[in-house]
Assembly symmetry: C2
Homo-oligomer: 68 residues x 2
């Protein structure tokens, strides 16, 4: 298969960018949940997609994130 390591720069091809967005968003939310449990801490993540959709994760109701 010989994937080459990816560069951290905007993915130009829209379908690929959308797929990556979906996968990595899930990955971050998972990591956030794990960190909060493992380390007994509170974690919140907010993501605003390019298309204007908002996604968020919070380990606690005490945490709030907003965009201007």
């Amino acid at each position: 298969m010989m994937r080459e390591k990816i560069q951290i720069k905007k993915i130009d091809y829209l379908p690929a960018r959308q797929v990556t967005f979906s996968k990595r968003r899930r990955g971050i939310f998972k990591k956030a949940g794990e960190l909060s449990v493992l380390c007994d801490s509170e974690v919140a993540v907010i993501i605003f997609s390019q298309t204007g959709k908002l996604f968020d994760f919070s380990s606690s109701r005490r945490v709030r994130c907003t965009f201007d």
Copy 2:
């Protein structure tokens, strides 16, 4: 070394918990930065450690996170 896969539950031993907190926090911030660049989106993460210290990452000044 024979590590066994870790369980996602609070790490009891404080020094180990602190080390994991430090490592995973960095990991999440890195992932957040990558996601924002790769997918041209805005991402913010806020973490409140058990000891009361606040850590945050934001890909944009438009993003704000707070704790009650």
